[in-house]
Symmetry: C2
Subunit: 635 residues, 2 copies
């Protein structure tokens, strides 16, 4: 059965041929009923099944026929199973000593674990919904899981409804940092635009939300609070029920029953006692075997303490990417950040940064406390500055009013920050090099937080990561600032702290000159999102028009290179950088923090080229652990 | 003297110290006057000068003093010289057998030739202009030369004024393809925005126009037809005189006398008889020595027959880059191109392309005829499609009216074509792969033109180049289309044509997998503009904010990597691609068609890694020839 329970499960049909079963015109009987019909044939079948499963050491799919009361075996093959069943079968077979732990690990595919970690739709109800024509459209599957709830069109409504205990799906054309509180409150997020690294997808995934994005058939009307589907009659209004499947990208009209994840109830929500959770128990046992088998470390990308806590619950051994800029969107922080950007002089900028310092320090302290001595890789400011300012006039007027500056100044600054290709523009370490005071503030916040937390008796292991380095001199300049501030803080606090300074390898020049860069960097972390964009010359946000046919129809790439590392191109650079880096600095620590860190095939590649760890979103940590174990076992 | 004439040239001051000469408080006498003052000292000085110049085999800068009527030599060093003088001195010294041809080549720096090829400002008048405070501001020196004329603010006015024989400077915020006829008519082009590969810079350079771009202090008001300079009082109106120096980026108020290039008058304008042109004669003699010394071929980037003719006049051996899309902006061609883009179905698209076919065929025939059997590398459609549609509502309404389609359709198409990072978007071979009918039309136009021109007795050597290839399968698909159409046309015309199919190497993945790509490509041409953007992760259009301080103040890069090849990064990929490509296909033809093809240091690097040719804008061909010769001589 779908649960993976070890029972003899099947159907049979009297006076019929095989086609009749497949065709579904007549309703077959459960296999147990055969015992009454033909006791000896049934007994023989049970015996044969046991022989076959012992021989193949797996759950088998058996086809048989009975003619003249005599049993004939027609065929047998290893049975299909869902994720839940895969883990249960593997655990049962170890218990029965049919296979060992290695065999168990080999039998569970990493993505199978998703079904233990996320809510899923009740399969029967979902089939029913399709049959009834309630499948509205399909988008990109950006955050796995199944969610059902009422439609809301803005973040505040989501929050209000959630406060009333009403499950909602937040529907937006696209999301922006201002929507974060609503995303947190919603069961699921559905957007009309954006790809699988859009804001909605990235943030949704990190929160563990069910997320479907880039659903181009959606026509969202915020004013009317209405949703239309292209080429389909009817209007969905605020409050109507909708269901989204983040495994497949499907969007359904109405409710579909979801089955919650026992593992998440135990580990994250903490609403279930492990002793009452048999699925969780099997998961825990299985993951213990997994951890015994792997060599690669597994960390999580986490920007906030709660995400860090989730990461730990899922078995992360540290934080591989803490994006400081996400912190800037939190309560009270966006104001000083905007002041920083609007500052006319270095002095004004320093004054604004001084307001950010205590806020950032508190953020870092929170993460350090939760991670309790495990390494925390903190990336200095990365995104282009225009991302922190609104692009519409109303928003700009609001900002001007809030900060007490003329509207013109805000508008002009936004215009001045406009870029033709922001992905390749004024961002990453380029910001900190032109405005060293930003890096100074961030370094100070990190080291002051580290000193304070250590003072309180909790160990800390900060790793400061400089993004978008292409030339060793860029890293040397920024590392110089970080180390100088570290010395200052340690002197002020009368303490010593151990820390590392390293870099992301995310543009080809960084990989090509890795030997030089390793002269300064104590670690490399491959930022494979951007490395894929630059190595392939493909903007992920714009790739839809050609990358989908490239993969699906033309088979130019075997898999979407943004989902699974392109080994011949991006992978070749990673291998080159790893080798050259370690030649220069044999103890160079190597990791990956791009989205690929949660993709099983990519994790296998990272194992192969000798990285020390992978880092992925918290909910993918178990998957990465299993992928790492399978890579180590050569599965 | 500034002409390089071999005379004894200098000044002296009686009853004075060296400082008095340098300080310029008293006016010194010409050296010839010394003969009257002190005949024996003068004779001795002339003798010593000759000895020194024979010894050093160069023009010398000599300092002397006369005390008690006795001559003392103070110091001597190799004399500074301008470009004009450098060539003359080198030629004279060869004539005097002081040096051989190799020595002559070593003594002229490639960029020196610019001063023989372009108009320059009269040095005295320019100094005067600076002294008078007429230097208004400075932009980027995008097209060398000096130009003076009246301000016009749009292309039509430029054309009208030029038709009246009035020299004008076209001043624009930025230029677009619609401005081409005005750029052609103007003496010089001045823009407020854009970098040295902006439309204005690229097109201006290819036309040989004086061009200053990205002049951020300019405040252009099209409605008022007025120009203001930030932080400077006063308004410049249409019709006012202005002068721009494309060597330095300087912009001056009022007229400054220009000195035209004798070489251009002979070779391009054909307004001067070579026998009456001593500077041209020396240039021609010197370039003959240059061509005898070099191994690298030199081609030109030329989109139109007239540019091809200029390229030949400057000694190009072929066309290294013919951008087919520039042709689309010519008279009558933009309409069908826009129809192609607005087409709703493949059938509509084919109908629109059918209108383009005869126009493209005529373009190619023109180039083939001019190049007379020399290789012509034609690149298939490259830019993102939105570049062919206007982005403002008025323009979109015009297009809609002209093509008889609803305005909404134009607007929606423009919106649908919007990209976050167009440089990494739906362009290059991605267009031809998704819409193979575009490549089909272009291939047909090329081969039909080639067959027709050959029929008329002129040899042809087309080389079809597929842009932005990252994966060998992309090239294989496009090469398949080209070869199929070639066979069709040859069958129809009952003839055989020799041609090559190759690719640009302009994204890192192309370089990394060059061995695979060389399995299909018969040639590689390095597109170093885009290869630099992707390898460094830097959008050239957006780089101003950090790349200028990176080079000037922080010395992260020794030279602007968009001007001179970044050898450690981009160069490493070029070397790798050349080696891997030739390992797979030993006779693989290798060239470069990025802007770097005209940069002397980059030409040296191309020689070093064994390329077959470089290609640059026509006016830089002599410079590239000299750089190639110097590289071959190890100068």
């Amino acid at each position: 059965p779908a649960t993976g329970e070890n029972t003899f499960y099947g159907e049979f049909l009297m006076n019929a041929q095989g086609e009749d079963v497949v065709a579904g015109i007549r309703t077959p009987l459960p296999i147990a009923a055969l015992e009454k019909e033909n006791r000896s044939a049934y007994a023989e079948l049970v015996r044969i099944r046991r022989t076959l499963e012992r021989h193949y050491r797996d759950m088998m799919d058996i086809e048989f026929t009975i003619q003249q009361r005599k049993l004939y075996m027609l065929q047998c093959r290893v049975g299909q199973r869902n994720g839940l069943a895969a883990v249960r079968i593997a655990c049962d077979m170890v218990a029965e000593k049919l296979i060992n732990r290695t065999g168990a690990i080999a039998r569970v595919k990493p993505d199978d674990l998703n079904q233990l970690l996320r809510p899923i739709f009740d399969p029967a109800e979902k089939r029913e919904a399709v049959r009834e024509g309630r499948l509205l459209t399909k988008g990109l599957n950006a955050g796995p899981g199944a969610a059902t709830g009422r439609i809301v069109f803005n973040a505040d409504d989501a929050e209000t409804a959630a406060a009333r205990g009403e499950p909602v799906i937040l529907v937006r054309i696209e999301t922006s940092p201002e929507d974060i509180h609503g995303m947190q409150a919603a069961e699921g997020i559905l957007t009309a635009r954006g790809g699988t690294t859009s804001h909605a997808a990235l943030v949704g995934r990190q929160m563990g939300k069910v997320c479907v994005v880039g659903c181009e058939a959606l026509q969202v009307d915020y004013r009317e609070r209405a949703l239309r589907i292209a080429n389909r009659k009817g209007v969905l209004k605020e409050g109507h029920d909708i269901s989204i499947d983040g495994f497949t990208g499907e969007v359904f009209l109405g409710k579909i029953k979801t089955i919650p994840s026992e593992v998440v109830q135990v580990l994250v929500a903490k609403t279930l006692d492990p002793r009452d959770a048999p699925i969780y128990q099997r998961y825990a046992r299985f993951m213990e075997w997994v951890d015994g088998a792997r060599r690669l470390g597994v960390r999580a990308n986490a920007d906030q303490p709660d995400q860090g806590a989730n990461a730990l619950a899922f078995g992360a051994e540290g934080v591989g990417l803490c994006r400081t800029e996400h912190m800037f969107f939190g309560e009270g922080k966006i104001g000083p950040m905007r002041e920083t950007i609007l500052a006319g002089t270095a002095e004004e900028r320093r004054a604004a940064l001084a307001k950010l310092l205590p806020l950032q320090r508190a953020d870092f302290a929170g993460i350090f406390r939760v991670m309790n001595g495990r390494p925390v890789t903190i990336r200095t400011l990365d995104p282009p500055l225009h991302e922190f300012l609104p692009h519409d006039e109303a928003g700009q007027r609001e900002v001007a009013a809030a900060l007490g500056v003329p509207f013109e100044r805000v508008r002009e600054r936004v215009e001045a920050l406009h870029e033709f290709n922001p992905m390749l523009g004024f961002r990453g370490c380029r910001l900190g090099i032109i405005y060293p005071e930003i890096t100074e503030m961030q370094a100070r916040a990190i080291f002051e937080a580290a000193a304070d937390v250590r003072q309180a008796g909790v160990a800390v292991a900060p790793e400061i990561m400089i993004p978008l380095v292409g030339h060793v001199k860029e890293l040397a300049l920024q590392a110089g600032v970080v180390r100088r501030v570290a010395e200052e803080v340690m002197r002020e606090k009368g303490t010593r702290l151990r820390y590392l300074v390293g870099t992301m390898i995310e543009i080809p020049r960084g990989a090509l000159t890795a030997d030089e860069i390793a002269g300064v960097a104590e670690f490399f972390s491959f930022g494979t999102n951007d490395l894929t964009q630059t190595t392939l010359g493909v903007s992920r946000d714009d790739a839809g028009r050609f990358l989908v046919p490239y993969v699906d129809r033309l088979e130019i790439y075997g898999k979407d290179p943004f989902e699974s590392i392109d080994r011949d191109g991006v992978g070749a650079l990673m291998r080159m950088a790893s080798e050259r880096g370690r030649t220069r600095r044999p103890k160079l620590k190597l990791g990956i923090c791009g989205e690929h860190g949660g993709d099983p095939a990519s994790v296998g590649f990272c194992h192969e080229i000798g990285l020390d760890y992978v880092s992925c979103s918290p909910f993918r940590v178990p998957i990465a652990r299993l992928a790492a174990a399978r890579a180590a076992l050569g599965a």
